[in-house]
Symmetry: D3
Subunit: 295 residues, 6 copies
């Protein structure tokens, strides 16, 4: 009797695999750019499940490209060194010493930890930053008012995706630290969400996925249950004007808009604090976050 039950249990599992088959077919050989940040990294269990998702993508023929952030770890290290933060218009003024810390945390501490986690799963990851192969050329942000000096804060000038393409062709999973390099070869502090959007655009990726700590875009930020499952450019514009999309969500929707405008088929903003958020989004029809579309 027990054997029979076990077989039935197995058949149920087989049925789940078969349910996923149409998605495997749709995404075979496609590239997904996945951005995630500090809130997920803080939870070992969630991190592990996310790495499992990424590894599974690779094994079913999808090419994941990871872009990571690192806010909390950077703040922690700066605090440990008693480096104080100055802000101009909400942007952290980044002097030479701060930039060094930012780069060390992003390009080494966080980047290599993700790489090692993926390699532990028997996939093969390579961690790079925007300096490697001149991947992310950046320029400094300048105010007209010379008193407002943001230091080494900058923005993406050009993505040079050749290295990513070669790593994908050689079956590695690229893991990208969002540090840019300017014309003099110096490091530039850039927004990781922007990097993800630009890289998805440069790769003409199939999907761009932002993992955040909310369930997607909320019609009313105060009401967690007000998630909107799909938004077009016009609707986003209104939500921004109405102050419903603010703060850290802004560069994400901008990244989605840039990506969609450059041929990325689908862009998603998801809650990364759920178990296996990528599988949930990809291998179900409903989706679990907000999808941005042109119209």
């Amino acid at each position: 009797m027990k054997g029979v039950k076990k077989i039935e249990e197995l058949i149920k599992k087989a049925n789940v695999l078969i349910e996923a088959l149409p998605y495997f077919k749709d995404f075979f050989g496609k590239t997904f750019v996945i951005k995630y940040g500090g809130s997920i990294m803080a939870n070992a269990e969630l991190k592990k499940k996310l790495i499992e998702d990424i590894t599974l993508l690779k094994y079913v023929g999808i090419n994941p490209v990871i872009v990571h952030g690192g806010g909390p770890a950077i703040n922690q290290t700066l605090a440990r060194l008693n480096i104080k933060a100055n802000f101009i218009d909400g942007l952290r003024v980044t002097d030479q010493e701060t930039m060094e810390i930012v780069e060390m945390v992003l390009s080494a501490k966080i980047n290599k930890e993700i790489v090692a986690s993926i390699n532990q799963m028997e996939a093969r990851a390579v961690g790079i930053s925007g300096k490697d192969g001149n991947l992310i050329k950046a320029r400094l942000k300048k105010y007209d008012d010379p008193a407002k000096d943001l230091g080494l804060v900058g923005e993406v000038k050009e993505i040079n995706p050749e290295l990513i393409k070669k790593l994908i062709a050689d079956d590695y999973i690229p893991v990208i630290a969002p540090v840019g390099v300017n014309e003099t070869g110096d490091s530039v502090n850039i927004n990781a969400d922007d990097v993800a959007g630009q890289i998805a655009a440069a790769l003409a990726a199939e999907k761009l996925i932002y993992l955040t700590d909310v369930n997607g875009i909320l019609a009313d930020p105060a009401d967690k249950s007000s998630r909107v499952s799909q938004l077009n450019f016009q609707e986003i514009k209104q939500l921004i004007e109405n102050g419903k999309i603010v703060g850290g969500m802004l560069p994400k929707v901008e990244g989605c808009i840039r990506a969609v405008s450059n041929g990325v088929a689908r862009t998603h903003i998801l809650n990364g604090l759920i178990s296996h958020p990528i599988l949930l989004e990809i291998f179900t029809d409903q989706g679990i976050g907000t999808m941005i579309v042109q119209e």
Copy 2:
């Protein structure tokens, strides 16, 4: 509340995918030779699930190679034509007219139906017989006693796997009708189980799987619950001597022995009348049939 429940349901499914990940890893890029016959074909629902299994293998990076039989359909067509069967030592005497029917049923009716079913699933199959590219060179079986003339009954002389390898390299799923060709270019009636074992050996496949209508090899053929999960060559020899392995099971165990002896990593005899038998066998540690090993 309902949404939450739905998410939990989805997470359970994601967990099933993740459970399968270690098997995806182990079998990535490997070749599986799968033999199945008439009893499965008789059931449209089972056929469909089997084709799903085969398609899934392809999409998770495994190369399935299908060898099919066709006993019941052959018998039906022979009956329809009032062609009577003669047997010598249990082997059907195959005259020219019978051979023509055998070939038409195997190489067209059954073969192309499987091909079309796989193509319907958006994988890409190509059906071939042992004549194509001289895949299966055969010789006639001859008794010393000239009165015992089996006609066009023969056995595999040589497998020429180049065409299969090219089809796999071009991402097609080869579907093979077990019709041999002799030195004069004529069709030869050969045992499909033998063909499967020889092809697995010639390809140095990772797995050879026989789908039958029993749960594997039974220690006591009369007791369906007496399945043995693993047998080595020595144990098989004894079961044969003791008359526990007989009839249609004999060429299967011989195919397994040949395959294992030629470097095939694992050989299985399974019940194909269960839903998704291949997924059940492959993506679980326990397995559901009998595995043949050297020692």
Copy 3:
């Protein structure tokens, strides 16, 4: 003296090879689609010579692609099974049972015999049908009048020539059974002449050759000596209107027109009942049948 005579004999033969050299040059690396049917197959000697021609093409750097019919053998098998034929407007109504016979005769009996004959000549053939690799997608023919149900009679909807191209690239000679597949994966009875024309067009072949049982197109069908060596589209149109081109010749001239319109350089309708008809047509300036040109 005798030796001298022998040498002179050999020199004459060498001169024949040298005469063929300009044609070898012209056709090197080109693709020829050759369609032939039942009347040639009925004659073992002619069949053998035709296979020799095809093999020779392959060895002098030309890529032959064979499309075969099978009318007489189909009729024979249907008769053997006492399946009666119904016709609507000259088209055989094809029910499920008839289609099964058609497919078995075309995709197995005839197809594999041609394959084996070529392989006997040490060239390497692979037999496929329109189901393999979804080569010939077909749709059913429908009359507005629901009483006129042709069953599984259809027409080519789309040729997917990738499998043929791969087989050619791998140095195989593709032998194609004209069985189409519809959207539900079922077999469809289609006209072999049409298939040949469509495949020649899809491959942008150098030549399309129809082997028939007459000397080409006759200005006066009653007068066998009235062969026209070349016809343009306009002239064909008139011959059809005047009832000079009728019956089985119609799909052949339509195939030629379609092929020429899609970039096939030369299309020929020849008498296949002559020894070595292909060599005669190809390796002489005069040609032996009718060539169809645009204008």
Copy 4:
């Protein structure tokens, strides 16, 4: 008059290029592993000249692979954080926090600076650590005495050079941070000189070059002019026994011995504080440091 003088000056320069031609020929397509550490990095002018040397190698068809150290920068950062050093038998005890600093300095600060410097020269570098692509698998060093716990200090267990080979094949200059990864995916502190020797061996490099702050191996460490231009294994053994080779020079000679024993053609220990040390060593017959040979 002046023009003539200028031409003569130019001809002298052309002669220098021609003098280098035999070396270009000898080393065309070969791989050089170059290790350098903190003393060179401290001097901007020397760093620049070294990067020029590396870039020149690439442009004359040689494949440089860089392994760097980072002692002084690590010490500086640890001091900045008030992390105190404990030593056991001369090895720095590396706890979790220290390892984090070591990794951040090596894999980000130093590694990416070298990468950016090379890219500034219009060559294309990619910075990786031993974690990327599981390049450097390491194991912890353990004393029998449990009281002597070195923490995360380890040694190279296995070099997996595939990623380096792919980067070279794609025309990138690999820059390697000597951080190992153990079986649990954690970072391990390993000796950079050892890493360089092991990588040279794994790549079967043509040359392994250690850039130090002395003129090579000194027969008498107290006498800077006592450089020995060539030493064999036996002579090295004696110098070690006599206490003439000590401290940081020990892992370098061990690296050379390992490399030579594994097929590296030439190994050198040079003074990196001279201008263009690599060009001086490579493109002259005399060489400027100490070369280690088997016998």
Copy 5:
């Protein structure tokens, strides 16, 4: 009536092509080294037919490699310049001026004429000498007696067949002038028959064919009808000892022996003064000259 006769004539020609088919099969993709010299070149009609043979080989998938001599044209040019010949032991003493003439006649006059003739046939030839790509490294022949100075007469030291292989791979017909190059880069006068044998050996050619002005090796040189159709090494040794193989035939049999000993399948000595000698030899079973075999 006439048309019928014409068809019969055409069918006879087709039969000749089909007769050649087994030879096409045997030699497909194989390399033939063909040496011919001055006696053929003197006859425009024979030259043309030979070039046709070579072109035909290329078009039926055989790779011809031509080595030519040039005795008569060299003598003519030397006479035109009043350069007198000195001989030591039957070898022409080759001073600097004579060598210049030899090289100019071989590497330009004769070589480029053959090249242009082949190109006129729409095949693609490239003429090279032993200097190109260091194809034929040679050393001078030296007598112990210093008075016997042969000047620039030498022998093959090493064949470097890479350039020939690349030209074949790029579908060119290599035409080789037998001028060697010594260690100082100077031209060396070498025997063309020897060059042909060595090149056949270095290429592991299928066939080596010497075209001469006799019908092969004669058992009795005085009796033109005494041709021997096959000889083994032992028989050749005896014919040499008995003075039956002498003069210019010696380096040819030595070339055959060297070629056979190094894996060349068949070597032939033929009369090149017959029409289409290569086709006659290759595409008939009997052959027309003498074949040299090991035993």
Copy 6:
């Protein structure tokens, strides 16, 4: 002390290499067509230095293509044979015998000597003429006045650069004798400067360099110090009209104009009688001759 001085000497040499690095970068993978003629060949020392330059180019990743002339050597050989020259409008009437000498000197004597010199430097050269691979198709020059018969004097009709491209791809240095071939396969006497310009255009080379015996184009031919370092098409036109560019300089400037008009980046006319003229021109900013630009 001496050692120190030596090191300083070495560092100076290293600096020269580093000075050349920007040029290495600019020209990496580019093609240079270099034409030189008899005046350089007359001087063994200059020849050697030029070959060194060419070899160096190859080793620093530049693809040199050599076109040579041969005037003096041709004249010498014609004189040796007492063949008198006739001129019409300054063009040497080329009868059959003269053409044979021209071809022998160009395609053998000069061409193979250059080839051997390069091979002596361990680069790999292959010498070809316009006949090989139908590289230079030519047509005869015809005057309307039939009395003015130039014989085999012709001009370039078409360059077929495929053979050059294949030799470059296989890492050979092509050395080209300027002999054309007409439609009947006969040799045609063409201007070497014109050939060089046309080949540079057909290859879309980076540079075309004419090595002459003057310092470039002189504003006043009588004043050797009046070299103009750069001229545009308009200025050249005026200099021609003013009779300042005459004689052998004319086809060179025409070659430059043709090359520039067809996409060649830079064209130079240099004095080849200076040591290492190519290195001097390429690896300095000033240049040493005259550069022709569009405007």
